[in-house]
């Protein structure tokens, strides 16, 4: 555990010394400031579009940081030669991959927390439509989303270059968000071998839609039941654990 935390801490420290985090924070502040200062047709108290834009920007920026940080870990270590002194230490590949995951997750998570805090401040200042429970749920699911994204990007980076891993991650995200519904409908409407095959693909794909609270948050729909949060947490935990095991197995086989 000490080894995992040591490596993760090193990665986490790097986030605050890079410019990316601050550039995105400034962009977010600028965007939310512009949106919050707007008055449309002299009507005051319009809040939903700010929550909509703000939440989208928070998730997008955190997603980008998580993907870029995770996808760069293993390829960069190999390219720079720092993988060798790491492997030479008394740690297993599984420990290294786990540490890289935790580091990426902490980094992406820290960025998400910072951006989300700004977003919450802006929404709370507006006053209307601010539900503490909903925002807390959205925060929790956002953290799980970052963990999922970090694990998947790290997995891809074990056997791809950084740019390929980032691209594939973006494509997977795009596909799941836009076609996940259609796939679900197809699977539920199919039978026999088609159903089995469809189920297999469906269960393999990461379900980013589980973590999307945009509509609930923006339009003040009710909170999610607790059992759903537990189910999503369990799903995320199992998925990440499987990915970490697969990543370490692949790293073991990879010719460095």
């Amino acid at each position: 555990m000490k080894a995992v935390l040591s490596i993760a801490r090193g990665m986490y420290l790097e986030l605050f010394r890079r410019k990316d985090f601050y550039v995105m924070l400034i962009c977010m502040l600028a965007l939310l400031s512009i949106l919050a200062s707007q008055r449309y047709f002299n009507v005051e108290g319009i809040t939903r579009y700010l929550r909509d834009f703000g939440y989208t920007v928070v998730m997008l920026f955190s997603f980008l940081i998580a993907v870029i940080v995770s996808a760069s870990q293993i390829p960069w270590e190999i390219e720079s030669g720092t993988i060798y002194p790491l492997i030479a230490k008394p740690v297993s590949r599984l420990t290294i991959v786990t540490a890289k995951f935790f580091g990426s997750f902490m980094t992406g998570g820290a960025a998400f927390v910072a951006y989300y805090a700004v977003f919450v401040l802006f929404c709370a200042a507006q006053g209307e439509g601010f539900s503490v429970v909903l925002f807390a749920q959205a925060f929790y699911l956002g953290i799980l989303f970052i963990a999922m994204v970090s694990a998947i990007s790290l997995f891809f980076s074990v056997f791809m270059t950084m740019s390929a891993a980032v691209t594939i991650m973006m494509l997977v995200y795009f596909f799941v968000v836009n076609f996940g519904d259609a796939l679900r409908k197809y699977v539920l409407g199919s039978e026999g071998i088609q159903f089995i095959f469809g189920c297999g693909i469906y269960y393999l794909l990461p379900h980013f839609d589980f973590f999307d609270m945009r509509i609930r948050l923006t339009h003040e729909w009710g909170v999610l039941p607790v059992w759903i949060l537990v189910a999503i947490t369990a799903y995320t935990g199992v998925y990440i654990a499987l990915l970490i095991f697969c990543s370490s197995a692949l790293l073991e086989k990879r010719e460095l």
């Binding site: 512009i34 707007q38 449309y40 945009r214």
Partner: protein
């Protein structure tokens, strides 16, 4: 670090001041069609304008599109063998659809993962009501700024401001702005006239605009329902501004379009009778 925060502060202050949509903005001085914003997006702005209108509709329905709502309910049924729990209900538009109340039933097909999403996604139907109705206004604002030739943005936006938000002056401002950008639009002329007629009780202005709308309508392909709409308003505004002849002519034209409508006959008889009485 300090330098970064000073830079951030500067950007925020400047960005709030340089408001793309502000009338005092530099870019606006070059004219609507020649603004930097327009040049940047080109023809894509009409798509952006249309998407803004769709967003307004989505916001009106609490973020849940019609497609998804039916889709989600369909999924809820497809995942169950037993449809006993399905209940037919009507939504706010009067459309019947089946709603499954038994949200916690064990799914029968595909396992929990395939069915959990129907508990996560919002699929109910609702409309914005009361003070929440203002939430769709930004999308009308964006729609007309993206595409000054988006007629629907002006007419629906104008209706929303004047009738739902009870801000008649803002509604009129929007419609007038629409008319400046689209002088050939019969829809905006008609909607502007309607607001004058029903909210401002300015019958003469309404009548003038409707005469114009009628002329414009005759020069474009249209159906009888659109023509009837304009003529009805024209008849009302003419009658209220004591121009009975114009009112009668309008009703007679409606009768030609809808000979089966007894109401039109009654209106003609009432007006003709009162004229005869004079």
């Amino acid at each position: 670090m300090i330098r970064n925060f000073v830079l951030a502060g500067g950007i925020i202050v400047i960005s709030v001041r340089i408001d793309v949509f502000n009338d005092e903005c530099l870019w606006k001085k070059f004219g609507e069609d020649k603004s930097v914003f327009m040049k940047m997006f080109g023809e894509a702005r009409s798509i952006l304008g249309y998407m803004s209108i769709l967003q307004a509709d989505l916001y009106f329905h609490g973020g849940v599109g019609h497609f998804y709502e039916e889709h989600a309910h369909g999924l809820a049924l497809a995942s169950r063998d037993d449809e006993r729990d399905a209940v037919e209900v009507e939504d706010d538009h009067g459309h019947p659809h089946e709603h499954n109340h038994n949200a916690f039933a064990v799914p029968s097909k595909g396992g929990i993962l395939l069915n959990i999403v129907q508990h996560i996604y919002v699929s109910d139907h609702k409309h914005l009501l009361g003070k929440d109705e203002k939430e769709i206004l930004p999308w009308f604002y964006f729609a007309v700024k993206m595409d000054p030739h988006n007629i629907m943005a002006y007419t629906v936006g104008g209706y929303w401001l004047a009738d739902r938000m009870k801000d008649v002056d803002e509604g009129l401002n929007l419609l007038k702005q629409g008319l400046v950008n689209n002088p050939e639009s019969w829809e905006i002329n008609a909607e502007l006239a309607r607001v004058y007629l029903t909210k401002k009780h300015n019958y003469s202005s309404a009548k003038k605009l409707l005469i114009g709308a009628d002329k414009l309508l005759s020069g474009v392909p249209h159906d009888r329902f659109q023509e009837r709409y304009v003529l009805s308003l024209l008849a009302d505004s003419a009658e209220l501004s004591k121009d009975k002849e114009l009112a009668l002519n309008s009703y007679r034209r409606i009768k030609v379009l809808f000979p089966e409508d007894p109401n039109v006959e009654r209106m003609i008889a009432r007006l003709a009778g009162s004229e005869d009485a004079r």
